[in-house]
């Protein structure tokens, strides 16, 4: 059915255009032969096409535009006629003889245009006459287009200030009056469209009305362009009249469009100065009008105006803009108790942006806005509306972006209260926004209080809030979140050790509530922050008169012990072992032997009881040996115990090559360059010999299991270690020992049962080159190496 309707409309439009063009043709002929009578006759017939009721506004417009073009030619003709002596007043009379009212009025407006130009009568008189005559058309579509035509032809003939049409009798007041009247009548027609037709076609009508709205709005645009309309005239005449029409028409569509139009076309300074009046209109509008959007756009405009230049800011203060807007919003919300929460948040969001732009230093204003939000949200429990939560995130992000500084945002007492109303998902989103802001601006949070406040805000990331289910969280997302918390911990810092210790304790308190899943992300950064503090304190002398409560490395180590312990809940033994060893080294540097020993004990226990994966064991052993080798704080007994254990572990690794390497690494435990009391040549040799035995065993095993003896790499490695200690001056390492090892390797490599291994060959070759090179060096080194034959 509808398709038929559209098709019919096309037909009618085509017919209309055809009729119009035909009459236009004859009209042109009449114009060419200066035949006024015929010109009028055919133009009237042409304009009759515009009397149709069959076209939708969209199609009517097409017809109208063609008529408009033709009328321009007619107007030129009229002008010529007056020059030829025809009286414009007579012409004005003549056209009124046209049979039908619509063509009559179009012609009248056209002549009127020439009349005004001729200046034979004051512009205001002609305009007044025309605007009143147009009342003859009460059909909405036809009336709107007719008045639109009037507006178009009169546009450049208004008696504005500085225009040629200004005179004693004609002033800008008359111009304004004319436009206002035209506007008022057009709005009435436009509103009337709503009542026409059956109820079921309401949607169609609204669509059609939408298409016509710019015709009505144009008048406001014209008003804004009139030079003579200054602030006073706007305040006294223009705005009140427009608002009167807007309020009285009681039409939702018109009210929404026109309020928005006013805000968009008139300058922002005017809005500031008429804020009372403008805002006063809002409560009087129909309850179904989307006021929040209009208000938001108003605040947006004013925000941008404030941002455009610092000079305008005093004006805002002078008119008490914030106060008025705040009150207006409050009134609107009160008047519409059923306004969905999204609307409320949007309003406050716009107000907050406004406040941040106009009064950036008034944190109390910003806090007020947030407070109003909180009041409105209270009693509603956690929000479930997606859009509303998005708006809240926007609301809370605004101060962060403006101040570039979480510390300032933390001063807003209502900030955390608003966050209370977010569901846990959104809480996490917001927490991430906060962390990103800190990372981007490289803000350092430097007091324990602020850290406390911050962690309260981001608690969604720190721990499981009520109601979250574990399986809901995507693993990668979780990792990303926790890594960002990890990075955040790096930003919590204060030079003063006392304060820093407080910060560490605060962070610790929060992360320990995070549950096993989070600990492996959050404990390491805390540990390293603590170790950095220890190092800072190391440099200072212990103050014998210092207070009991002051921070000492010992205290920190106690805390560290308890903290690393918690990793057993995860469980994360490898990580814990690494951290214990780090702590041991730090304790070593502080000369705290018992503390260091305790850390080593913990590490060893973990190794024995919790670390069973072969690869993990190898890494752990390397770290244990490497760390122990650097310890200087241990007395003989302690050192012996730990070393004995370490070598024991090394010999018990699963794979023979790993065993071998770990054991010869242990040789370094008995020989430390800068510690003269740790240079036990015998024990070194014992280790190396043990490593050799293991390497041999590996060869035999390989022979038995695979039929070939495998690579000689291990032997070459051990050889290199022999050379190392030989050079260091270990008397137990003799030339003979080295020589026999060289022969062993050579024999093995040449043996039939060995697997060729180019890497091992190259290794041996470069070792030999090294020996040669040392010989060439001359001096003490050269002498030492001289006896070795390759």
């Amino acid at each position: 059915m509808i398709a038929d309707g559209v098709e019919d409309e096309e037909k009618w439009l085509a017919a209309g255009i055809a009729g119009l063009q035909q009459n236009a043709f004859y009209m042109h002929r009449a114009l060419d032969s200066n035949n006024l009578r015929d010109a009028l006759k055919y133009s009237a017939q042409m304009l009759s096409e515009l009397r149709t009721s069959r076209l939708s506004p969209h199609k009517y417009y097409e017809l109208y535009m063609r008529a408009f073009d033709e009328l321009r030619k007619l107007e030129m003709f009229f002008k010529e006629e007056t020059r030829r002596g025809c009286s414009i007043i007579d012409l004005y009379e003549l056209v009124q003889h046209a049979g039908n009212i619509l063509p009559r009025l179009y012609l009248l407006c056209t002549v009127g245009s020439v009349y005004i130009k001729s200046k034979e009568a004051p512009a205001k008189d002609v305009l007044k006459d025309l605007v009143e005559m147009c009342r003859g058309i009460q059909n909405p579509v036809r009336g709107l287009f007719l008045r639109s035509y009037l507006a178009q032809v009169s546009r450049d003939k208004l008696p504005d200030i500085g225009s040629e049409y200004e005179g004693d009798a004609d002033t800008v007041v008359d111009a304004v009056e004319f436009v206002l009247q035209n506007f008022t009548e057009m709005n009435k027609l436009w509103v009337r469209m709503q009542q026409q037709g059956p109820a079921r076609e309401k949607e169609k009508r609204e669509k059609e009305r939408s298409e016509l709205r710019d015709l009505v709005g144009k008048n406001l645009h014209v008003l804004s362009q009139i030079e003579g309309v200054d602030l006073d005239m706007y305040k006294d005449t223009v705005l009140p009249r427009i608002l009167e029409q807007v309020v009285n028409c009681k039409d939702e569509l018109a009210q929404y469009y026109l309020m928005d139009c006013i805000i968009q076309v008139f300058p922002d300074e005017y809005h500031l100065q008429t804020l009372d009046v403008l805002l006063g209109a809002f409560p009087q509008l129909q309850p179904t009008v989307d006021i929040k959007t209009v208000l938001s756009r108003l605040m947006e405009r004013l925000s941008n105006y404030a941002a455009s230049s610092a000079d305008v800011l005093p004006e805002f203060l002078q008119v008490e803009a914030f106060l008025k807007l705040n009150n207006a919003i409050g009134k609107v919300i009160e008047a519409q108790p059923d306004m969905p929460i999204l609307g409320v948040i949007t309003l406050y969001s716009s107000l907050l942006t406004f406040t941040l732009h106009v009064h950036p230093d008034r944190l109390d204003y910003a806090d007020q806005v947030l407070g109003a939000c909180v009041r409105k949200l209270s009693g509603k429990g956690k929000l479930e509306d997606n859009k509303a939560t998005k708006q809240i995130v926007a609301l809370l992000s605004a101060p962060l972006e403006k101040y570039n500084d979480i510390v300032t945002a933390l001063k807003l007492s209502n900030y955390p209260r608003v966050m209370e109303y977010l569901d846990s998902e959104t809480n996490k989103v917001m927490a991430t926004v906060i962390i990103q802001s800190i990372m981007k601006n490289k803000t350092h949070i430097s007091t324990a209080d602020r850290v406390e406040a911050l962690f309260e805000l981001i608690k969604g990331l720190i721990k499981d809030l009520d109601g979250t289910l574990d399986d809901e969280v995507d693993e990668d997302d979780f990792k990303e979140e926790q890594n960002s918390v990890s990075r955040l911990i790096q930003m919590l810092y204060n030079d003063d050790p006392e304060e820093m210790f407080k910060i560490i304790c605060t962070v610790r308190k929060h992360i320990l509530a995070g549950g096993p899943k989070r600990l492996s992300f959050t404990v390491p950064p805390l540990v390293f922050s603590s170790l950095k503090l220890v190092r800072q304190l190391q440099g200072r002398e212990e103050n014998p008169f210092g207070e009991e409560e002051s921070t000492t490395p010992k205290k920190i180590f106690q805390l560290l012990n308890q903290t690393v312990e918690t990793l057993s809940n995860v469980p994360a033994p490898e990580l814990a072992l690494q951290l214990y060893l780090q702590c041991a080294e730090a304790a070593n540097d502080c000369d705290l032997e018992p503390v260091a020993y305790e850390f080593f004990t913990q590490a060893y226990i973990l190794y024995e009881e919790e670390i069973s994966d072969s690869r993990a064991q190898v890494t752990a052993i390397h770290l244990i040996i490497g760390t122990l080798q650097r310890m200087h704080v241990f007395g003989v007994e302690n050192r012996d115990t730990l070393t004995h254990k370490a070598t024991g572990y090394s010999a018990k690794l699963l794979k023979k090559p790993d065993q071998c390497r770990a054991v010869y690494a242990c040789s370094h435990l008995f020989w430390v360059d800068d510690q003269d009391n740790v240079k036990d040549g015998e024990r070194v040799l014992l280790c190396l010999k043990r490593a050799l035995r293991i390497a041999n065993a590996a060869q035999q095993m390989s022979n038995a299991a695979r039929g070939s003896t495998g690579s000689v790499t291990l032997f070459v490695e051990i050889l290199n270690k022999y050379l190392y200690f030989f050079e260091k001056g270990n008397p137990q390492i003799t030339v003979a020992a080295i020589q026999s090892l060289l022969e062993l390797i050579t024999t093995e490599m040449q043996s039939d049962s060995s697997t060729p291994d180019p890497a091992a060959d190259a290794f041996f070759a470069s070792t030999l080159r090294y020996i040669e090179f040392q010989k060439q060096k001359g001096g003490a080194v050269g002498e030492k190496y001289e006896p070795i034959k390759v």
Partner: protein, 191 residues
Amino acid sequence: MVLVLALGDLHIPHRAADLPPKFKSMLVPGKIQHIICTGNLCIKEVQDYLKSLCPDLHITRGEYDEETRCPETKTLTIGQFKLGLCHGHQVIPWGDLDSLAMLQRQLDVDILVTGHTHQFTAYKHEGGVVINPGSATGAYSSITYDVNPSFVLMDIDGLRVVVYVYELIDGEVKVDKIDFKKTTATTHSAH
């Protein structure tokens, strides 16, 4: 002219939040042909970032790395040079030149790049060059005090390599360079 970026021990996020901004602005994609990384990044994000600078990325495993499948050592040939890569916690005593030289002989490489100590060093000895690019973020180390963020850029051209070290000292990037020439390649014969 082949540019090779050598860096490591970033320890993100455990000990550092990010690379220093002055370093980040210097490291632009498309300028570097190879990246070798000693390890301890520690998370995938850092790996992705490095990959975005240059797709030819080589990493060895550090003890804190999240990605446990990286190898303990790696060798690669760039131009006339053979490079070896290892994190270094496996070579005891840590930072000891002679022990590192042994690893160099074992891998049979001209340039050995290791880390772990967070201390920039570049040693030349008869067997070749041992380089430690330090920690690119200046991360805490139990071995080294007052770590300055540093990384190394090697310019390999024929038989010559110029090693540029970039260090962030008191907020300013200082550059130093060291020249190494390789003697004509010797053939390695097996016994």
